[in-house]
Symmetry: C2
Subunit: 200 residues, 2 copies
């Protein structure tokens, strides 16, 4: 390599970021060195603080600085409803939509026997314990609409069968603002089956 | 925001990287927190070391850990030929091609009167001093084939007019492995004008 050890190490380290290859890492390193030293130093501090300081919430498994995350700490979020999502970014999307005001449980993945990921790896026992202990009345299974997401939702629903807890799944249908011509057949079929009277 | 201050600060800091917006920064932060804590800590260290430790080479202006960069330090690279490039990534591309064995001068930009960037901002005086002091016989002006790059090359060539230093510009033509049908008209015209006998 033509560069100094420090620059080489920076380029190599940047490749740990998802979607960043050799060329992009180089471009990022040169950009930071040329125009963004302040930003680079801030990023170094933030990375170091987050890598050591961020843990999982003991209650919902979401990322948190404290043993219990800010959402779980709010008494008004304990509404008897829990929304189960696969990842923190799913939770963020729901929070940004702003309508749901209940609690969460973040699985940090989905069941995947082929990868050796079973119920205990994604905290389903912890979830079931919470459902029992906090007298949860509804569990919204908002896992992704993929094969693994559906399987995970059905597994959780099966485990709660007979306990009287209502398990629900998010509605399928056409996205708001979308064009019918671009919607796939499965989604359209779901949208037709779930149609509602206009006066609803 | 739904997240902890540490995660928020990490997402915000990642946005200083070029081409990284809110969504990508989020994805990067979650990836590091979930699966890449080791990589994240390594990146923090590399960033911090590079931001404080990397400087410009006193001789060629390239990024370097030392006052004189590894290329300028090698006596065999002082061949009387200097290659002038706009950025460290251009230098890297030429080094990776592996054919050129002379010295370099990195302008870290190009002349751009509209942005207030004049000859002194990109180190042209330092370059001219080197040409004089090191008895350079050829200056390869490998600035980009853009309006600003051409203007910068012509400005340097004009300043050296009458000094006996040979100034050259990289050849234009069709890229190796390219298809003629996709080559633009200007490049084709250059390729025709620069054609060579097959026995060459």
């Amino acid at each position: 390599m033509a560069f100094s050890p420090l620059v080489d190490e920076l380029v190599e380290s940047l490749r740990c970021l998802p979607g960043v290859g050799q060329k992009t890492a180089q471009r990022m390193a040169f950009h930071l060195l040329e125009k963004g030293r302040g930003g680079g130093e801030r990023l170094a501090g933030a990375l170091s603080a987050a890598m050591t300081g961020v843990r999982r919430c003991d209650s919902c498994q979401n990322f948190s600085d404290t043993p219990i995350c800010p959402i779980c700490e709010k008494p008004e979020r304990h509404t008897g409803t829990l929304c189960v999502v696969e990842s923190p970014s799913d939770l963020l999307a729901i929070e940004q939509a702003g309508d749901y005001r209940g609690g969460y449980f973040v699985l940090m993945g989905h069941l995947s026997p082929i990868d050796g990921i079973g119920p205990e790896d994604i905290g389903i026992e912890l979830l079931l314990r919470r459902v029992r202990d906090e007298s949860v009345s509804e569990l919204i299974l908002a896992t992704n609409p993929t094969v693994e997401g559906e399987a995970t939702a059905h597994y959780i629903a099966d485990r709660l069968d007979g306990t009287g807890v209502l398990t629900t799944r998010l509605a399928h249908g056409i996205p708001v603002g979308g064009e019918l011509g671009y919607v796939d057949g499965f989604t359209l079929t779901h949208a037709f089956r779930g149609r509602k009277p206009l006066t609803d």
